[in-house]
């Protein structure tokens, strides 16, 4: 017994010297380290955003407790979502989502749904751009798609990240709209896809802006159109005399397809409105920092950022959209 008391005392002394814990009586605040779960591997888009958020919070002292980023990307993100689903009522876990919030349960039948979680807020929407190699003769999206159609099925390779996820869904949507047929090649990461396109192992990709921008600036890749209903607002020159704003929307370019990816935050189910509000405010502070704004511009994000009911409605709409697209593509898990 003596030893345990000693252990307790020693641990207490050590911890007290390293940390001091305050628990204010008003409004809810985290009382221990917050886990920021990323349902994807290290180095990807969601991971970068989570780590940036963590860095900004640490740098500007926006939260008294610390935050750790935990990657749980197993089973196309199912690992992370199941963990948060299982942590009902735990206010010290937040999760950032990719489209796999919808696609993974639909494609694999793993039992979770965004309704098991509590929506906190949207951080941004990630764009997708149709890219080709600089040596591709097509100058516009219309030309490219017509060429693919003319070549016939199986002649053109579209590279993307993962299987039955956002990149492949866009590819299918593009096929449906235009009648062209691609062979979709799944890779593990966006940077790898961009490199494969530079090396001409694939013919086109639907990389996010941040995944391909370096190769665009180096003149190795050419953007054809952005899969959104409005052009990206950023007018700083990126590559030569082109800015993000100069890339036409796919609708303008004659291939009417659009898709944006949710970068939003969720918590476990069964948390109190107070607790949700805390994270809504915290993330609002993050969004106001210059570091965040620079990151948004570098990655050419769509800065729509909904909260509350609007956010939940948006997510519900996105879910039915995915349900529809995936059902048509035959990507739904067999029951």
């Amino acid at each position: 017994m003596e030893k345990r008391t000693f252990a307790k005392g020693l641990l207490a002394a050590v911890v007290a010297s390293a940390f001091s814990v305050f628990t204010p009586a008003f409004a809810w605040e985290p009382t221990k380290t917050v886990e920021f779960i990323v349902p994807a591997g290290t180095g990807g888009g969601a991971d970068q955003m989570a780590r940036l958020t963590q860095s900004i919070i640490a740098k500007h002292n926006l939260m008294k407790q610390s935050m750790v980023v935990v990657n749980k990307g197993g089973g196309a993100g199912a690992e992370g979502f199941l963990e948060v689903k299982g942590a009902k009522g735990d206010p010290h876990k937040i999760i950032i989502t990719l489209s796999n919030l919808f696609t993974t349960p639909l494609a694999t039948g793993v039992p979770f749904n965004w309704k098991d979680l509590t929506p906190v807020r949207m951080l941004a929407l990630d764009q997708f751009v149709l890219w080709v190699n600089k040596d591709n003769p097509a100058k516009t999206a219309k030309e490219y798609v017509s060429a693919v159609k003319a070549a016939g099925p199986g002649k053109t390779k579209m590279g993307g990240t993962g299987s039955k996820q956002e990149d492949q869904i866009i590819t299918v949507a593009l096929e449906k709209q235009s009648g062209a047929k691609f062979t979709y090649i799944p890779y593990k990461g966006g940077g790898e896809v961009a490199t494969q396109l530079v090396g001409k192992h694939i013919d086109s990709s639907v990389n996010n802006p941040i995944e391909a921008v370096a190769q665009w600036r180096a003149g190795n890749l050419r953007p054809l159109c952005v899969f959104d209903n409005e052009r990206m607002p950023y007018k700083t020159k990126i590559a030569g005399d082109m800015s993000w704003n100069d890339i036409p929307t796919c609708k303008e370019a004659g291939v009417d397809t659009d898709y944006v990816m949710l970068r939003g935050i969720f918590m476990a189910g069964g948390v109190t409105p107070d607790q949700v509000q805390y994270y809504v405010d915290l993330l609002e502070k993050v969004r106001q920092t210059p570091e965040w704004k620079k990151f948004m511009e570098d990655g050419a994000f769509n800065q729509t950022a909904l909260t509350g009911k609007e956010y939940a409605d948006w997510v519900a709409k996105a879910e039915s959209l995915h349900q529809g697209l995936m059902a048509e593509a035959g990507f739904l898990a067999k029951k």
Partner: protein, 509 residues
């Protein structure tokens, strides 16, 4: 010789007291991280990212930040070898091949020699890779672009070919073990179709079998159980504890110059492609065993068997930073986190980084030279200290090791299931060893299985996919050809021997 000039400029940037202090701190931390399984390089770098964020805002700060982080990376590369050699527990995946000869050496009381050889070869591998990066990075970057799915598959095939035929005993046990590794690698989500495989509805199986958990169990815990059969002590406690051992080992090392060169080449290729440090270490070990005059003695505890995997792992680990910088493709999980760091600091990895931020790039390259020298000095001076760990009585060190294993297994996915899994693998490791089921092919299949399958099936996608693609250009044809040759070499050589024998007989008769 513009490179030399740029490099000198880089040294000027990197050589401040502040940066040197950062290197020392980074390497020391990295060694610590590398020693503890589970707290891998990727983890360590990720955890320190927020710290470097404010650092990068000051002028020249981005260079200091990457120096700190990359030195953690070098440190982790060095540190991974320590527990492999002392306890048969690889701290990092690329140290698995180091256990094959490193641990037997330690058991013979030559832990100091094994550690010295490991550290020195690591340094040599890294140095070769850095020199390559300094002078021919544009060519390397173009070489990496040549690699599509068929090329990747041929490289994985080469790794397997270099490695098979290694174990003695019945081929059926080798096949069973290797195929079990492949089966475990297939558990989880299938990259190509997105279907779940072999999960049987268990949520814990979704994430698949992590290599590190299998290895901690099979090698680490299995070994402790085998040791304890014989009583409560570790062999190898009589290890010498002075710096003489470093000098003595250095005298021996130049003998293995061929292995060093070959391993550096293998490592650099695998790092640039990027195939990764783990396959590089396996491939290099396999090739060394096949080509060395002492091939028979590999696995019984010879220094050359430590030199080969360590040189390759470190060469690969270092050259993996090149595709990261010039292509934005991370060559390893740690490089992936570093890449995220660059983006957060406002740097854009890609072909233009060398042009736009020469200070940063050359500062980093200079820090690769300096960081590795600092790292070598740090770890070599600690060799006696590390070897002394073996003198700690078994009933103290064994529970501590088991605790470290448990923490290591837990941290991979933050899951208790993995800790139980590790124990199961531990018992399996004990039984495998007693029944002569070879574990190395199982581990290799586990680490490469899904990657090889992915690249094979990526190649086959579409109506034009056919096996002919693996010979469709000189690059992939050469690699595939070389791997087939290696794979069937035992058959070919015995066929040649038979043919010669017949000729001889005819002449005689």
């Amino acid at each position: 010789m513009q490179e030399i000039q740029s490099l000198m400029g880089g040294f000027a940037v990197a050589m401040s007291w502040f940066n040197l202090a950062l290197m020392l701190a980074g390497v020391t931390l990295g060694v610590l991280i590398g020693v503890l399984p589970g707290l891998g390089g990727a983890n360590g770098v990720a955890i320190l990212l927020p710290l470097t964020f404010s650092m990068s805002q000051q002028p020249g700060g981005a260079t200091s930040a990457i120096i700190l982080l990359s030195c953690i990376y070098w440190g982790a590369l060095f540190g991974g070898a320590i527990t492999s050699i002392l306890f048969n527990i690889p701290g990092e995946p690329w140290s698995v091949a180091t256990t094959f000869d490193g641990y037997p050496l330690a058991q013979q009381g030559r832990a100091g020699a094994a550690l010295t050889a490991a550290f020195t070869s690591s340094f040599v591998g890294a140095l070769v890779a850095v020199i390559l990066i300094t002078f021919i990075s544009p060519i390397i970057a173009r070489f990496a672009l040549q690699f599509g799915p068929p090329e990747f598959f041929s490289v994985y095939l080469l790794t397997f070919s270099a490695f098979v035929g290694m174990s003695k005993g019945t081929p059926f046990k080798t096949i069973t073990a290797m195929m079990t590794g492949f089966a475990l690698a297939a558990v989880g989500i299938d990259t190509v179709t997105g279907q779940l495989r072999l999960t049987f509805g268990f949520a814990d199986l979704l994430k698949g079998f992590d290599f590190l958990i299998a290895v901690i169990g099979l090698f680490g815990i299995g070994e402790i159980l085998l040791t304890i059969e014989e009583g409560l002590e570790f062999k190898g406690a009589q290890a010498k504890l002075n710096m003489r051992v470093v000098l003595d080992t250095w005298k021996e090392l130049p003998k293995y110059w061929k292995t060093s060169i070959r391993s550096s080449a293998v490592g650099c290729m695998m790092g640039i492609v990027p195939g990764g440090a783990t396959p590089a270490s396996f491939m290099s070990y396999g090739l060394a065993k096949k080509m060395s005059r002492d091939g028979e003695k590999f696995g019984t505890g010879i220094v050359e068997g430590v030199v080969a995997p360590e040189t390759a792992a470190h060469a690969a680990g270092t050259s993996a930073l090149l595709p990261m910088l010039t292509l934005g493709v991370p060559g390893s999980p740690t490089a992936a986190v570093l890449l995220g760091g660059l983006l957060i600091w406002g740097l854009q990895p890609g072909p233009l980084l060398f042009v736009e931020k020469p200070d940063f790039v050359w500062g980093l390259i200079a820090s690769m030279y300096l960081g590795n020298i600092v790292g070598l000095i740090v770890v070599l001076t600690c060799v006696p200290l590390f070897a002394a760990i073996l003198r700690v009585p078994f009933s103290i060190i064994a529970p501590v090791i088991l605790v470290i294993c448990a923490i290591g297994a837990y941290t991979v996915h933050n899951s208790m299931f993995d800790v139980w899994l590790m124990l199961v693998f531990g018992i399996a490791g004990y039984v495998f060893k007693k029944l002569d089921y070879p574990m190395a092919p199982l581990v290799l299949a586990l680490v490469l299985g899904d990657r090889a399958e992915d690249s094979f099936r990526q190649t086959m996608l579409g109506p034009e996919g056919s096996l002919g693609l693996f010979f469709s250009n000189p690059l992939v044809g050469t690699i595939t050809g070389a791997s087939l040759l290696l794979l069937f070499w035992p058959l070919i050589s015995s066929a040649i021997a038979v043919a010669r024998g017949r000729n001889g007989n005819r002449r005689g008769g």
